[in-house]
Symmetry: C2
Subunit: 121 residues, 2 copies
DNA sequence: TGACTATATGAGTTTATGCGCATATAGTCA
DNA sequence: TGACTATATGCGCATAAACTCATATAGTCA
C-alpha cells in the first residue's frame, strides 16, 4: 500500500501545479507559442518576481521547457498530458459557468492548441 | 479580461480538489462503486473527522453525489470529467515513476472504471 | 570596463489548508 | 424514552504556499 501512497502523493503534486490561477494564466499565455518571461509578465498582469517563481516551479515539475536566446529566456509547454488536462478542465468549467450565465464567445478558446510556429525567431 | 480571470479561478479550484493525496485516495476507494463513509475511512486509513470534511468539500464542488440509507451515507463519483482527469493523471505519473523504477503490477489499475454494479444494496 | 536589460532569488508577511480533538446531529433499535 | 451507531462540525494548531520588496546574477552593447 506504500507504493500507492507514493503515487497519490505525486499525482496530488501534479494537480497542485495547476491549482493556481496565475499558473493557469501562464499556460494560457504560452500554450500556442513559446514566450519570454517579460511577455508572460505582461500577458498575466503579475509581477516579474512572481512570474519568475511560478515559471521555475513549473519547469522543475517538468511542465515547461526553456531555452536562452541572448538576454531573454523562452518558456514553452513541455508536458502534453498536462496541456490536455488543462484544456479538458477549462472546457468543463467554461460550460458549467455557461450554464449559469451564457457567454458571448466560446471559452474553449481559453487553452487553444499550438499553431504551426511554436518556436519563434 | 475579467471573465477569463473568473474562469481561471474556478479551474484552479477544480484542480485544487484533486491536489490532495487523501482526496485521491477517496476517489480511488469509490471510483468503482459507491461506499459509505465508514468504508472510505477504512480504505484510506485516515480519521472519520478528516474524511468527512474531505467528502463534504468534494460534494460541495459537485464531484460526489450522496444518498442516505438508514444510518449511513453512500458517496459516489458524480463528475465524469474529473474521474477521467484522475485516470489520465494517474497513468501519466505511474508511467513516469515506472521509468525511474519499474513496478510489478500495472498502475493503470489505480483509478479503475466502475463495474456493472455501481449502486449497491 | 560601465550602463543597461532580462531573469532569478533571499527574506519576511499574509493567507489558505489539512489535521486532531472534542462534540453535535441524525438515525436505529430495544 | 435511552443506548448505540454513523456522520458532520467548531475550534485551534501547524505547515505550506503565494505575494512583495529588495537585491543578485547573467547577458548585451557602447
Amino acid at each position: 500500500m506504500n507504493e500507492i501512497d507514493e503515487i497519490f502523493g505525486e499525482v496530488a503534486q501534479y494537480f497542485s501545479v495547476m491549482s493556481e490561477p496565475t499558473r493557469l494564466k501562464i499556460i494560457h499565455a504560452i500554450c500556442q507559442a513559446e514566450r519570454t518571461v517579460t511577455e508572460i509578465v505582461e500577458a498575466t498582469g503579475s509581477t516579474q518576481s512572481n512570474i519568475s517563481r511560478h515559471l521555475n516551479l513549473m519547469h522543475r515539475h517538468g511542465l515547461l521547457s526553456r531555452r536562452r536566446e541572448g538576454n531573454q529566456i523562452y518558456y514553452q509547454m513541455a508536458d502534453d498530458t498536462m496541456t490536455e488536462l488543462c484544456r479538458t478542465a477549462c472546457n468543463r468549467i467554461a460550460s458549467r459557468i455557461d450554464d449559469r450565465r451564457p457567454m458571448k464567445r466560446q471559452l474553449a478558446r481559453l487553452m487553444p492548441p499550438p499553431g504551426k510556429r511554436t518556436v519563434r525567431a
